[in-house]
Point group: D3
Chain length 233, copies 6
């Protein structure tokens, strides 16, 4: 259930019998021919679908993350890493104070990875709490599904193209893009990143049949649900 579809009293009632909650971590950044909100939309939606049958509340996705390398693509504001870690830490501290003890961070953006370091630090200070950081699109259950369909699938390819991340009126090209050399991107400043990526995709097919993204999505939802159900100690 979305926290935004609830009142505080309903959350309080929930805390009477459960202590899990999901905090999705998104970003606002270029995704080629797709919405600038891909990472925020997907991280929240996959969490909501996964949590639904379990009745676990899902907070709104944090729509700003770490994306300094996309600075040359308008519409991609970034936080600084130190600020980002502080945001995640503050939210964990505050959720703990309100009674939550098992917090699943469902991440939708590779660049947010440093936030994975917050959980262990938090658990050192709150020994009775548990934090899981999970990037939904490349977990052990999802990634093989992706690879089996298109080993070049990546940022802004069909892998992130869902009915809910496409932009009305924007045509997505046909065809396959040769993967951009990850080694080159790794050491590139923003202008070079843009020169390398052009339209923004890292490579792979731009479009795939519905069954393909559906398979990825189903695996993603299932994996998040499983973690939510039994990823705890």
């Amino acid at each position: 259930m979305r926290v935004f579809d609830r009142t505080w009293k309903q959350i309080e009632d929930y805390l009477g019998y459960d202590d899990r909650i999901v905090l999705p971590l998104g970003s606002t950044e270029q995704h080629g021919y797709l919405s600038l909100g891909v990472d925020t939309i997907l991280s929240e939606r996959v969490a909501v679908e996964a949590a639904e049958p379990l009745g676990v509340p899902v907070l709104p996705s944090l729509p700003y993350g770490l994306t300094p390398y996309f600075a040359a693509y308008p519409g991609s504001p970034t936080l600084r890493a130190g600020t980002y870690l502080a945001v995640v830490r503050d939210l964990l501290d505050s959720l703990y104070e309100q009674g939550f003890r098992r917090i699943l961070l469902v991440n939708g953006h590779g660049g947010n990875a440093p936030a994975g370091g917050v959980g262990p630090e938090f658990m050192r200070d709150h020994a009775d709490a548990q934090v899981l950081f999970h990037s939904w699109w490349n977990g052990p259950r999802v990634w093989p599904v992706v690879q089996a369909i298109d080993p070049d699938a990546s940022h802004a390819s069909w892998l992130e193209s869902f009915p809910w991340t496409r932009v009305p009126g924007v045509e997505i090209p046909e065809g396959h893009k040769q993967p951009v050399d990850p080694g080159a991107i790794r050491v590139a400043d923003p202008a070079t990143v843009r020169a390398l990526l052009g339209d923004g995709s890292y490579g792979g097919d731009y479009r795939r049949p519905d069954a393909d993204w559906q398979a990825v999505w189903d695996a993603g939802v299932e994996e998040v649900r499983e973690l939510l159900a039994s990823g705890w100690r």
Copy 2:
């Protein structure tokens, strides 16, 4: 237009002829019988409606703000003030770097007021930029409308009760709540805040005829639009 309904290329095209953008500032916190997302939902929606005819892009509302006093109401995570100011500053810096020069912060939560201090500091460092901080519900055009209808209107009263902030299945009480003494709340720790507020409303009618909230909303949208159109130097 919502940034999430656009691709980076569309934002880049926009920057070819305009440099305005809106960043709504919300919160996730108790609102009595209403959604925990009231401040996030309203700040974003009022901005989107206001910006629509002007074609100015609206970023996703930042759904976490400053609400330490509601710590005893589950579902109200807060950031620390220092972190919050850093988030707003980082976003302004990053938007500036991407070419935006006139940034309107549409605030939906009274507790976020310290973020009003970020703009002047930012403009000292970027003399060609302009930042406006506007709390949509109590501006000079909206507040008289509210007062004329119900002088006790406040947090979690009818003033924040819109079709898009009500929670399906949750009945909102009839009647009028005596305003809670603001002087008492001001020096209250979270447990005392809850003892004082009970259901979460600060006072005023819980429900009002549709025409009333519509009048507030129309004034709110109009005032944001006006600022967006001509609040600049």
Copy 3:
């Protein structure tokens, strides 16, 4: 009583029967034809006079605050907002540790408003403490007095001109200054602020008969005293 007129032993004795203290918040910044110390001088003096009959100690005013918009006026050093909040938080924490439980922040400068966000955060962490943030010149008792005398009264006008804030040898002009458009100042960088304000006053009469500033002062002292006496829970 001024803390500076006391020894630690006297403060310890005081803590044996009371737990209130006042921390004035000032600034060093342009005030037109008046002293650069107006906000520091007034915040401390109004606090001292208010506290006198109550026997509550008054700390020295913090003479540096948030005034980035006056950067083009020499003699107006500013802190960054994040630093300022940290200073106020540190002082509250330290005063708490020393036994104070009711702390009144008497603010003398509009730009310091973000510090108002520190108290609620502090009270979340120290549930048995109370913090009040009060801007002495525009409280509910003082502002009507000001308005009745000169509705244009503002920064660096007669409203801040007291025998103890005037600079020997500097003549204050006669006459009335048309208020500078606050909407224009709001989005102005420091150079533009100076271009708009010129001599530094925001508008209103430069000088008024003694009875006028005395009326403001009396109301200011009285309001601070009342808060100090009965503004607590």
Copy 4:
């Protein structure tokens, strides 16, 4: 000249022909039978007297510094070291922006020593600026004077007892206090510090003839003046 005795215009005029300024660094903390404001009062006064004949402006002393070890003595609020360094750095940055290039920090409190690390960092970033950190009471000219009078002179002894730091109505004891072992204080927590120090003095005579403190004061003023006149590159 005190900055507080000037208008911004006078400071601007001054900047037309000079670029020096003094920022005194004080503290609010126990000083035995003396005022809690000793370090603030002395750092500002010695600077004002020293600067007078040179016409250099003196800012108000920063009345809060680093004094965590006196936490058990009421009336001794401390900043955290990280905050303190940020305050000093912000002020240097802001003064630089306003045109000052030679800034003398006149320190009145031993615990503030870490602020001495700010200047070199600041000069790395502003190669045309100069910052001097000087503790007025133990400089190469003052300390021999002190030692010749009473080698045990220290914190809260006659060395800090001036007509302007004594508290009306508080009698200062006669006699000599055996110096408290500095090695013991060095590793002491606040309660132990108090147990060791008792009344707050570190040792030495409590009172001395006027000629003695006058000699110290004269040397202090002279040394600050000399640095201000010719301590630059």
Copy 5:
């Protein structure tokens, strides 16, 4: 070449014809029967051997990193994540200022991963600089070598047991340890981590023939060297 085996003049000469440097990132933390310095020792040594034939200078390994989860194992001090990122950022900024433009971070500890977020942020601010973050033991060339020998190899197993990381007088057990469930460790507080790990190893053989660790080492050195030689844009 080790920076510590050089004078500043030799480094200045080097900067006349090259702009590469290596900063190894270590940790001080439990490694079962091995030295508490494993990550620091290996990150520095692999870098030194790799850089030798290229003549690139290698800084001393930063011996403190992020290891909050090992808090229950004495000898494992950790930094907080925010501090750690600031350290790495400061060093990059300072090295840049001194003329280095291609900086390779050779990481020796999995927990330091959040530092991988610093490079992109740094390259946004310094477009002509390049930063590579490489964890030496699980790169694309090394990991297959490890896996081929013992798929369970992990923290504190033979994989980190080299003549230069063993502790004289401490016997390393024979045999194979069943890998501890990584999912369990992931959500464990420090006490639980210790309960799960016992002696500190995550699993795999404790000891292996010399040829095995030599194969890993050779691959590690080779991969670092290759990155140093041709991992740039």
Copy 6:
């Protein structure tokens, strides 16, 4: 004993009967004709030799400190002061959590002095802990030894020239260097510092007979050992 020569189990055993530990603080920075690692090498070595007979563990020296004034000498990366204080504080907090109660900081670099402010703050928060900050080369026992040999001895002179800080193949000049005016260095930006210092030495003999540095070293080791043995409360 070096912590790096031990396993966690050995440190745990040690904590069963003692609670002392040494954290050396170094720097990587120009030392004229000597190694860039002088401060790191000496702070660690003097600590190790001093601690040996007492059986107290010595952590690896922190090889990065505060040296902004040497920015014009390649190979001298610096941390910012705020970061440095956070590093030292984090390590103290973490060591405390692991059971250490008496922590000796053996400092090898004058510029690190601001870290001396961390201990008192830490002891305020942990009343049962003790922290000693000791700069090994100018303590009350060592400095007279130095002065008796060469009163001009200073940074990068024979005073820091030991067999373990000389660089193979680099010839150290004969002769005496006139001390550079410390007052001039104090207000110098990095380029001026270099202009003043030239080769990097602050003055004194470049070389001295072995007996001289041996006398300094012996006094240094002895003084650290004494502090470690009996510098506590």
